[in-house]
Subunit: 476 residues, 2 copies
C-alpha cells in the first residue's frame, strides 16, 4: 500500500515541491514513462469529470453540441492557415509510420482542432439557415513541451475546445464574450477561483486570432495562471478553408468564427489557489468526495450502524459521501482526508450518538461545529455552501491584495520581483514597452482587464501618454 501518511513539503520551504507532493500524495496523478504525459488517477480524473458535468450543462444552455473530430491532422491541412501553423509547428508530435508503412502525408497529432472543424464546416455549411454552428469536443491534445509540470504544462492534456460559426462579426464577438463569461462563472460558482477577465495584447493572442479573451487566476507564489481563453477569428479561417454561405441577401458570404477552451490546467489552479501545508483543499462543488464519515470507536456496533445510516441519508440527498470503515485509526483517516482535501469531515462516536449529535469539521479553516442529527442533510448542504463561499472570498481577497498599481520601474520591480502578484500598468499601446517589461522582469502582459480603471496618464516605460490599464505578471 502506498504510504499516504508521509509529510509533504511546506509551501514556504519550496512551493514548487509542495505542489508536486500534493499532486502525487493526494493521488491526483502519476507520471508515466513518457515525459510530459501524465496518468490521471481516479481521484484527479473525478474532479475533471465534475468540471465536465458543470460545463456541459452550461454549454447545453447556450445551444452548444458535442462532437468528436479525428485525432490526427494531415500536415497539408494543418498548414493552410499561415499564422496558425507558425504558432503550433514547433511543438507538434508527428506520426510518420502507419501499419508498418511510411505515410505519404505525415499526420500531426492534434495540438488543437481548428483546421479539422473548419474543413468539416466548409462541407456542411451552405446557407444562413445552417448558422450558427456551435460545436464542442472533449478530448486530449498534444503539444511537445520541453518543461512540463503536472496539470500546468504537459505534452498531453485534457481539454474542451469549442468552435463556432456565425453570420456576422457581432454575433461571433458576442459568442467569444459569452463563453468567457461561462468560464468565469465556472470559477466563481464551482471552483471557488476568482479570475481577472480581459483581452490579450496582440503579442499574447492566439495564433490566428483577431482577438483573444482570457481568464487569469493568481497563485499564492504570486504568479498568474492563464486558465481559459476564447478567440474571435474574424473570417481568416473561413478564407483559408473556403467556408462560405448564401446570406439573407442571396450573396455568398464568409462567416465569422470563434474558438474557446479550458483544460485540466484548472486542476492546477484549484490545487494552488486553495491548498495548504496539509495538502489539497477542494472546493465542494467539484470535490469527488464532499463529505467523509469517520466513525469513532468503530467496534461498537451502534457507531457503525449510525455511520451507515448517515451515509445512506446523505447519498439519497444527492451528496457525494464516503464512509471510511477501514481498520485504520481515526487519526490516520483525519490526516488522509485532509491530504485529499475533502471539504467536510463528519465524526460520529458513542457519546455523540447518546447526545443525538455529530461533529462537522471544515477542511478549509479547520473549524468544527456540533450538529443535531435531525439537521443532517440541511446542515451538511448549508455548510458545503458556506465552505464554497469562504474559499472564494479568501481567494478573492488575495487577488485584490496582490493587484497593485505600478507607476514606475521601481514599483514594477517591487511588485513583480519582491511581492508577487499583478502589476497594473498604464500602457501607451506600444509593443516595445510590453517587450521591455518582459525583458526587465520576465513578466508578460496577462490582459487588458475589462474593468478599466485608469490611475495615471503616462506609460512608466517610455513616459508617453497612456490610456489603457494592463495587468502584468510572471506566469506559469
Amino acid at each position: 500500500m502506498e504510504n499516504k501518511n508521509e509529510a509533504i513539503t511546506r509551501q514556504e520551504d519550496d512551493f514548487a515541491q509542495w505542489y508536486t507532493d500534493v499532486c502525487l500524495k493526494a493521488e491526483l496523478m502519476d507520471y508515466s514513462s513518457v515525459k510530459g504525459f501524465i496518468i490521471y488517477r481516479p481521484y484527479g480524473y473525478a474532479i475533471w469529470e465534475e468540471i465536465q458535468n458543470a460545463l456541459n450543462a452550461k454549454f447545453k444552455g447556450v445551444g452548444v453540441e458535442n462532437v468528436y473530430m479525428p485525432l490526427v491532422i494531415p500536415e497539408s491541412l494543418f498548414n493552410r492557415e499561415k499564422e496558425h501553423v507558425e504558432g503550433f509547428a514547433p511543438e507538434c508530435l508527428i506520426a510518420t509510420t502507419g501499419g508498418a508503412n511510411k505515410l505519404e502525408d505525415p499526420l500531426i497529432i492534434r495540438p488543437t482542432s481548428e483546421t479539422l472543424f473548419c474543413e468539416h464546416y466548409a462541407k456542411v455549411i451552405s446557407s444562413y439557415r445552417d448558422l450558427p454552428k456551435r460545436y464542442n469536443q472533449w478530448c486530449s491534445v498534444v503539444r511537445w513541451e520541453k518543461t512540463t509540470r503536472p496539470f500546468l504544462r504537459g505534452s498531453e492534456f485534457l481539454w474542451q475546445e469549442g468552435h463556432t460559426v456565425y453570420e456576422t462579426a457581432e454575433e461571433a464577438r458576442k459568442d467569444a464574450l459569452r463563453m468567457l463569461e461561462i468560464y468565469d462563472s465556472l470559477g466563481r460558482d464551482f471552483l471557488a477561483v476568482p479570475f481577472v477577465k480581459g483581452i490579450k495584447t496582440d503579442r499574447e493572442k492566439f495564433a490566428g486570432a483577431v482577438e483573444t479573451y482570457t481568464i487569469e487566476s493568481l497563485m499564492p507564489d504570486g504568479k498568474a495562471l492563464q486558465s481559459g481563453t476564447t478567440h474571435y477569428f474574424g473570417t481568416s479561417f473561413a478564407e483559408a478553408f473556403d467556408i462560405k454561405f448564401q446570406g439573407r441577401d442571396g450573396k455568398l458570404t464568409r462567416p465569422h468564427q470563434t474558438s474557446w477552451g479550458v483544460s485540466t490546467r484548472l486542476l492546477g489552479s484549484i490545487i494552488m489557489v486553495h491548498g495548504d501545508d496539509n495538502g489539497l483543499v477542494l472546493p465542494p462543488r467539484v470535490a469527488p468526495i464532499q463529505v467523509v464519515i469517520i466513525p469513532i470507536q468503530m467496534k461498537r456496533p451502534e457507531v457503525l450502524a449510525k455511520a451507515n445510516e448517515y451515509l445512506k441519508t446523505l447519498q439519497e440527498a444527492g451528496i457525494r459521501v464516503k464512509l471510511d470503515d477501514s481498520d485504520h485509526t481515526p487519526g490516520w483517516k483525519y490526516h488522509e482526508y485532509e491530504m485529499k482535501g475533502v471539504p467536510l469531515r463528519l465524526e460520529v462516536g458513542p457519546r455523540d450518538i447518546e447526545n443525538g449529535v455529530f461533529v462537522l469539521a471544515k477542511r478549509n479553516d479547520g473549524s468544527k461545529l456540533t450538529v443535531n442529527e435531525s439537521d443532517l442533510v440541511s446542515k451538511v448542504k448549508e455548510t458545503l455552501d458556506v465552505v464554497h463561499n469562504e474559499m472564494y472570498q479568501k481567494a478573492f481577497k488575495y487577488l485584490l491584495e496582490h493587484s497593485k498599481e505600478a507607476r514606475s520601474l521601481e514599483e514594477l520591480d517591487t511588485i513583480l520581483n519582491k511581492e508577487g502578484g499583478y502589476a497594473k500598468v498604464m500602457w501607451c499601446g506600444d509593443e516595445a514597452c510590453e517587450v521591455k517589461i518582459k525583458e526587465l522582469y520576465q513578466a508578460t502582459a496577462r490582459c487588458l482587464p475589462f474593468d478599466q480603471i485608469p490611475f495615471d496618464d503616462k506609460c512608466p516605460i517610455c513616459g508617453r501618454k497612456a490610456e489603457k490599464v494592463v495587468f502584468f505578471a510572471k506566469a506559469y
Copy 2:
C-alpha cells in the same frame, strides 16, 4: 443547407450502400480527409454519450473508477508482452518526430492500453490491501486499418477500456464474466439489441489473453458483429510488467488481471439491427431525441402554443423532446425525423386541440395512436417502453430464426452462403476443423455460447467425436 430529404438506397438493393447512406444522411458522421478517421457529428455523438451515461452508471455500481492514461506508448514498453505486441504491431500508428526532433524511442499511438495500465499498476500495488483495482478509461484508440467502414472498422474509434487487478484467478474470471453480463444488459435494456454470449476459441481470442468472452450481435445481412469483449489474462501481464503484491500469507504473489471494452461499433449494431428503408430506427433509451413534436397548421397561434406546452411538460418529465417549429412542411418534417430514427412523433393540429387529443406515431412499426391530452406524460413514457420492447423482440426473433444447426458441409454451405446467420456446429475441438470452415466458407468461429445445447455427437468436418457447440458466421 444539406439536402436531407433525398432518398436513400434500399436495403435489398445494396445493404452496404444503405448503411453508408444512413450514416451520412441521418448526420451521424462524416468523413475526414484521413481515411478511416471519421467525424462524429452531434447526432451520432449524442447516442454515444447516452451509451456512456448508461455504462458509467453500471460501472459505478460494481466499483469501477474512471482514469485517463497517456495517448502514447513507448515502443520499448509496448514490446514487453510478447503475444500482445505480435497481435497489434502490424496495425500501429507510430510517431517519430516531436517538437521538430527525431524521437529516440518512437511512440505508438495507443491501439489499446494494457501496457500503460500495467506499468502504473506495478507502481501502485504492493499489498493485497491495494486490491482489487478496477479502472476504466473512455478514449479513442488508433489501429491502422486497410479497409474501413463508419463505426464498424476504423483507424480511430471511441471506446471504453477497463483494466482490473485481482488477488485470485477466481475473482478475475468472475470479473470478466460480470462485465460481459453488464454489456449484455446494455444491449437488452438500452440498445434493444440481443447478443449471443460465449467464449472465444483459442484462435479467435485477444492477443495475450487466457480467455476471451464475447457478445455477438447479428445483422440483417446475415453477418455477425462482435460487439464487446472481456478478457481474462491470468498472470501473463503481471509477469511481463512485474506486478506483485504481498498476499494475506505474507508472500509476494502475482495478481490476476482482466480487461474489457465496448466501442462505437455499438452504433453500427444499432443502425443495422433496427434500421429500415426509411432510415435510422433508434432504440428510445439511447435516442438523443425521444419524441419530436410536429405542429400541424403551425400558423394558427393555438397550435404553436399547445406544441410549446407539450414541449415544456415533456421536458420537465425528463423526456428528451424536440419541437420542430421551422417553416418546413409537416411532410418534410415527417420524412426528416423518420430518417433520423426518432422513436416517437407527436402530431398536434387544430382539430386535435378541439378534441383535447394528440397523435403519437411510432417509428418502429409506423402505427399511430390517438391520446388524450391529460395522459401526455404517462402515455409517452409507456409508449417509449413499448417501442423498446417491440424492437428488442423483433431483433431477438430474427436472431433465433437465423441461428441454425449445421450437421453437414451442405448445411453449413446453405446457412453461411445462402441464408445467412449463425451456423451452430458440433466441434471436435481441433483447430484444424475451425480453420477448414474458415477456408471453405470465409466464416469464423464467433464463440462457444454459454448456453451449450448439443444436438449431435460428431464434428461435421472430420467426423470425430464432438461435444461442444460453436457458432460460426461470416462477420464484420
